[in-house]
């Protein structure tokens, strides 16, 4: 079950089942196109599943040998990105952006680890982010997400 094609085919089949079941209550013409697409998608997923047994070409999505610092950094960054968005409602866009921009930058930077260097970096980030924030919101009137703080 470590073949990426096999797992992908099964996930696609699962999506087909979910969407087909949901389409039961749609109006006749509203259900027509989704049903046609689901049938085509399911046939293609079955073809991929069969191909994964007959001609297994793909490896694993994430090779276990590769799960090293590289993927841990990716995962940590992704976690911080999601947290960044989640905290906008509480901290506000500007505060949340300065905080998580700095955190992502710190975990990606292995060279500058001394507290003073980190502080300098956070300061620069705060100025840059605030600059961009005010440039877009005040000059270009681009709307920004709002939270409890700015």
């Amino acid at each position: 079950m470590k073949n990426a094609d096999r797992i992908s085919a099964l996930i696609v089949l699962g999506i087909c089942v979910l969407f087909f079941t949901e389409a039961r209550d749609f109006s006749p013409y509203g259900a027509l196109f989704p049903r046609v697409i689901i049938i085509i998608l399911a046939v293609l997923a079955v073809m991929l599943l069969i191909a994964s047994y007959v001609r297994p070409v793909a490896g694993k999505v994430f090779d276990r040998n590769e799960i090293t610092v590289k993927y841990l950094t990716v995962l940590a960054s992704l976690f911080l990105m999601i947290a960044w968005i989640a905290f906008i409602n509480f901290l506000g866009f500007l505060t949340s952006s300065i905080l998580f921009f700095s955190l992502i930058s710190i975990i990606l930077d292995r060279k500058h680890k001394r507290p003073l260097q980190i502080l300098q970096k956070v300061g620069l980030i705060a100025v840059a982010v605030a600059g961009v924030f005010f440039f877009f919101s005040r000059l270009l009137y681009v709307p920004f997400p709002r939270g409890l703080l700015l």
Binding site: I15, A23, S27, I37, L41, A45, L48, I88, N89, I104
Partner: protein, 504 residues
């Protein structure tokens, strides 16, 4: 039409437009040159910011970025043997060997000249082909639009992905996503899964940003330890004039490559990478000295670069006339047009003629600007390639993706959509599913469904659904093209097998 042309030329003399084009080309060159950052990503990120701008300002800026980024990819292809954008893949074949010989400046000047000439030829095609094609688009009814999208999807699936099945699955998945929200006929709410936010469907731009930007960012983090050793870039005297004379003496090379680029661009989904590969291949076949290619021939660099810059305009031809993007960056530009309330087709050349022609003519300026800017920015770009500031770039681009996704509808749900599709795109890429087919499925889905359902209703009213679908002249041509493009990969494989068999 003449009035629009005059108005658009006047528009282009305005300083702000010229500044925006210059900014677009300059930033495009830098983005295109940095491995991991693509033209599609740059345009997807900037589209939401153009929402509050005047349509002319927004479009000339995006056009400049598109041209600049496709050209910019040649820098990293030549200096570090890694194409900055997928379009520059064929530039590595001869560009890097030239740089290894100490001729990096010569290679970059060749790429610059060829890009300018190819880009300009492409714009000529765009200018002369779009108005008549847009008139033909008036003859398109629901069945024709249905078959056109079917044709587009088969092409996308077979060309845009390494595996045909995965490409088709991606396209069909995109079509399925496009059905979320209110149905175009009968108006029932579909796949909202009990949430109010999904009732309006998936907004295109956040989905595009998610699929094209987030996977690139996560990919950059993966590659952040990778250090590129760039070959030295030093300016030399008399190279510019020398290369110009050499290229002018080979007009067929440039014209052939530009025509190939334009044609490949017109085909939905076939991007600059395919254009440059086909054109490079043809340059080798047509050369008296094919053995020189791959070892640092300027003809190889010129063929690849002329075609990928011509492809920019080619990809805009089906976009502006039929609303079918020829390449992923053009798909994002479609989002920009729709955001400004401009629907592709005849309207663009009548109602919005001034904006459309200003945009088309701005591409001439963008292509011309590549020459001085490419040569002037060379040193800076070669430094940036080797010292890619991932530590700052990743969070900064993510910061822009949040603003971009939010600003379309002032809605945090769109930001969640962007992250969801971004993570899906990243995992999908790992499993061999490219984002191109999915995104084009999302774009074509609404047109496809409306065409299908309306054609059925029209067929029922006229007494025969089959006649409505299969016996209209334009539909018949599109059906033949769809069947041919769907069968093409299998036919190609069969032909290759037969060839191998004969060799034995």
């Amino acid at each position: 039409m003449n009035t629009f042309i005059l108005q658009s030329l006047t528009n282009l003399t305005q300083p702000l437009n010229l500044i925006l084009i210059t900014l677009g080309v300059g930033s495009g060159i830098i983005v295109g040159a940095l491995p991991g950052l693509t033209a599609t990503m740059a345009i997807a990120l900037l589209v939401p910011f153009t929402f509050s701008m005047n349509p002319i300002h927004g479009l000339v800026l995006l056009g400049g970025i598109y041209c600049g980024a496709i050209y910019g990819g040649s820098f990293s292809a030549i200096l570090i043997n890694t194409p900055g954008t997928p379009s520059a893949i064929a530039t590595t074949f001869d560009g890097y060997p030239m740089a290894k010989r100490g001729e990096s400046y010569k290679a970059i000047v060749t790429a610059t000249m060829a890009s300018v000439l190819g880009g300009l030829i492409g714009v000529v095609f765009l200018l002369f082909l779009t108005p008549p094609l847009s008139r033909i688009s008036l003859k398109f009814g629901p069945p024709e639009f249905f078959w056109l999208t079917a044709f587009g999807l088969t092409i996308i699936a077979t060309l845009a992905s390494k595996s045909i099945i995965k490409g088709l699955i991606g396209g069909a998945f995109g079509l399925l996503i496009s059905t979320i929200g209110i149905a175009p006929i009968e108006g029932s709410v579909r796949y909202a899964f009990g949430t109010i936010s999904l009732q309006n469907g998936i907004t295109l731009i956040p989905a595009l940003i998610g699929f094209f930007c987030l996977p690139e960012l996560l990919g950059m983090i993966e590659q952040k330890e990778k250090h590129y050793a760039a070959l030295p870039y030093r300016k030399q005297k008399n190279v510019v004039l020398g290369i110009f004379i050499k290229l002018i003496k080979k007009p067929f090379l440039i014209i052939r490559s530009a025509v190939i680029g334009t044609i490949v661009g017109i085909i939905p989904g076939a991007g600059g990478n395919i254009a440059s590969m086909v054109s490079y291949n043809e340059a080798v076949r047509a050369s008296k000295y094919p053995q020189k290619f791959g070892k640092g021939a300027i003809e190889g660099v010129a063929a690849a670069e002329a075609s990928n810059n011509a492809e920019v305009s080619g990809s805009l031809i089906p976009l502006l006339t039929l609303g079918i993007p020829g390449a992923p960056p053009a798909a994002v530009l479609l989002g920009a047009l729709l955001l400004q309330g401009m629907r592709p087709g005849m309207d663009l050349f009548t109602l919005h003629g001034e904006i459309t022609f200003t945009f088309i003519f701005s591409l001439v300026i963008s292509n011309l600007l590549i020459l001085p800017m490419g040569i002037a920015l060379g040193k800076l770009v070669s430094k940036l390639i080797t010292k890619l500031p991932v530590v700052i770039l990743v969070p900064f681009i993510f910061f822009l993706t949040i603003i971009g996704s939010y600003s379309i509808n002032n809605n945090m749900f769109d930001v969640y959509v962007m992250v969801f599709f971004g993570v899906l795109g990243y995992i999908g890429r790992k499993a061999g599913f490219g984002p191109g087919p999915v995104v084009l499925g999302i774009i074509l889905g609404k047109i496809c469904e409306q065409g299908l359902v309306q054609a059925i209703l029209m067929g029922k009213a006229e007494g025969s659904v089959l006649r409505m679908f299969f016996l209209r002249p334009i539909s018949a041509i599109l059906i033949v093209l769809t069947l041919f493009s769907a069968a093409w990969p299998f036919l190609r494989e069969l032909a290759a097998k037969r060839k191998r068999h004969e060799k034995r």
